[in-house]
Symmetry: D2
Subunit: 242 residues, 4 copies
């Protein structure tokens, strides 16, 4: 972490900042620049908030992190590209994987017919929503558990693995039983209790980017899943709001 002092900070103020840094267990290292004095706080501060609080000191202009706040989601921990295997399909390898299917599972006929066509067209994974996050409470909310069973049937019929959204922690087990990949929708990208739960479900997680999620926030949401022991996170980009 780099602590930038205001122009004209006094020697006492610099020393005070250094003392506070040391008291939090970091080594302080001062650089006196032409227009500013900056103090580097040496140590691993990822996920810790103490140094940030220095920003409230009168003499501090800014506190700037050097390290990215995620660990497991970074290439430093995992040097190679993540490959997620689902049946015979490898997501994240050299081959582009297409997941296709209806927005909602609406009926047995609709799903089975669509699944056959999805397979015939060469896609690798069947998608379809049994639980639908709807902006309006008056809109169709999905076939729910019945939809899960239809997805499982479509999988048996076609051999295609299935990805479907899970919206609540109490349905993670049911969805994990019928689906091959658990989808977290854009609106739940920062639903942290849900992320923790799918991190323990033993199935790959497809994590959609939220409407206005920064890359850093998105990777930290992945970190929630990864830090529960689930290494199989698939990041799914989407249009964002402007």
């Amino acid at each position: 972490m780099i602590i930038v002092l205001r122009a004209g900070a006094s020697e006492e103020e610099v020393e005070d900042v250094c003392r506070r840094i040391a008291a939090m267990g970091y080594a302080a290292h001062t650089i006196r620049g032409t227009l500013r004095t900056v103090v580097g706080a040496i140590g691993d501060d990822r996920g810790k908030e103490g140094l940030r609080a220095l920003e409230s000191l009168e003499c501090v202009e800014a506190v700037t992190p050097i390290l990215q706040p995620y660990k497991l989601a970074s290439r430093e921990v995992r040097h190679d590209a993540t490959e997620v295997r689902v049946g015979d399909v490898t997501i994240g390898g050299r081959t582009l994987v297409v997941m296709a299917g209806p927005c909602s599972v609406e009926s047995r006929l609709q799903l089975l017919e669509t699944a056959e066509r999805v397979k015939a067209a060469g896609a690798h994974v069947l998608r379809g929503g049994a639980f639908k996050p709807r902006t309006s409470p008056y809109a169709f909310q999905g076939l729910e558990d019945e939809g899960l069973k239809l997805l499982a049937e479509a999988r048996r019929e076609t051999g295609l693995p299935v990805v479907t959204e899970v919206m609540t922690a109490d349905k993670v087990d049911a969805v994990a039983e019928h689906a091959d990949i658990l989808q977290i929708g854009a609106r739940n990208v920062q639903n942290f209790p849900l992320l923790r739960k799918v991190g323990e479900a033993g199935k790959p997680v497809l994590l959609k980017r939220g409407m206005a999620t920064s890359i850093q926030e998105w990777l930290l949401s992945a970190e929630y899943v990864l830090s529960r022991g689930n290494p199989n996170v698939i990041l799914c980009e989407r249009g964002i709001r402007t």
Copy 2:
């Protein structure tokens, strides 16, 4: 709903659109303009999706709603401004209500001392987070149930009503037991199962706007709460991302 046909749509196409509208139970009313023919579909289509699907017809340029999609959140249903009473405090009346307190409940001492000062400064409601939605899994996640008890103690000591965030459906009852107002945080503004649950909790709900939530989406989230029988929704504006 107004269905705008493409320039040059044929008479058969206009008739086909009208037939489809009628088949969905609406009355079709055609206006032939100078450059476009438009068809009005007469009837209450809020929350229904059928007419929207006409947009996939080759001859249709756009489908434009006339009605706002929310009902209970509109002034048509509730003519007067909503006033929410919490103890002696009225939110939404002529008097500005200030809710103050720490971001997180960190300790008994911190909370009780802050609560006294909040009261002395003239604020009306005590806020403080027991469950904290944190971008990073490594950050402090709140004192949780222990924090709720401290909030209840601060309420007893000061007489101030308490507002605190609830993040999961399974904690709604516990939070409702100790708090006077249930806060839904910005990241959960479209966590629909949670909205439904707080709609049944019998306590006022403070609904924060999400990072990139449009006004219409926000009111539809309020509609989730209202449609479960809870008329006491407080909308809390916040900075949005640009």
Copy 3:
């Protein structure tokens, strides 16, 4: 234009709206819906603002346009995809066209060497900035007229057509003399006097999307160029701010 009246608008109010529509030269056509009365104003209102003003009437809820506000930029006027020919290159046809080169023209050596490599790599058009719109007044602002001459020399040497940005109306002629395509940068996408001027310059215009420009605004900026008699507008998408 569709004028939506508030719920409960009286018969007199509906008639008043119709009278005002007629007075502006449009035909009024009323549809009485289940929950709202709407009035269609029939006629070509593109670019006219009169009907919009009805929104200020107490009894009007919304005024919704039916027509897109652009004409020449629409497929209704120009049915086929636009193809812009620059020397032997056709932009907008079946072949992807690559325009490459340095951000700024910095020196003769830098530009000529880069141009040779751009050509060797198979790109079709040479780009390079002589006039640079810089966020900071202290940053390098480009070689200006000297840069234009270097671009012309690079064109002679390589045979590649040249695209370069023009920032002010008084430099349009000079840029048009040396370049094959006039670039309008993202920050000038709504610099309307400049758009008018390049609309009269007789050279194709590459119009970059602005930081936060909607598609409709972008097409209207194209309309500024097109309506001055220049049919050769190339739309250049770019990342937008979120």
Copy 4:
């Protein structure tokens, strides 16, 4: 400027970065952290781009500025709040200043009548557009020079100072002759040649924030005006796009 090296950067790479920093005229200062080595480049680099280019080195993870890039717009150069005097009105002092008037100057009658009412209502400055930046080329573009004369007449009649927009460098003198404050509209906030020109016009400048302009960009646009010798810049906030 702080140069953050990648994890595992070799001793040779650190030395290479230091050498490059020294070659650009800055003093290099190395801090070896637990997980990263960072090098501080000491010296005033505002508006210079050299250090930024280090980001293209394989061994560099990020280049982070310490100083804000503006000088004259910062409180370091001008410690006190800016007060702009226009006739008897002081903008930026303790008193809130209201500038009111029609969007466009449409006619003599409209403007004079509005100006009288603006004055009667207690506003301090008359606004009104003679040159209008219109999204559509078919919309009314303002009365232009004729509008300027009407504004001057309204000023004589009411004694109110006048603010009006200037859109092109070649009209700055004409607008400065008739108006007391030159307005730069949101769409021109990064029209740098225009900013330079109003920086030399000897009249206060009201600089509107652009649709998606960051605070830093906005202050740098102010810096364009300030650096031309005009200290009287009024920043005018506006809704931004989300």
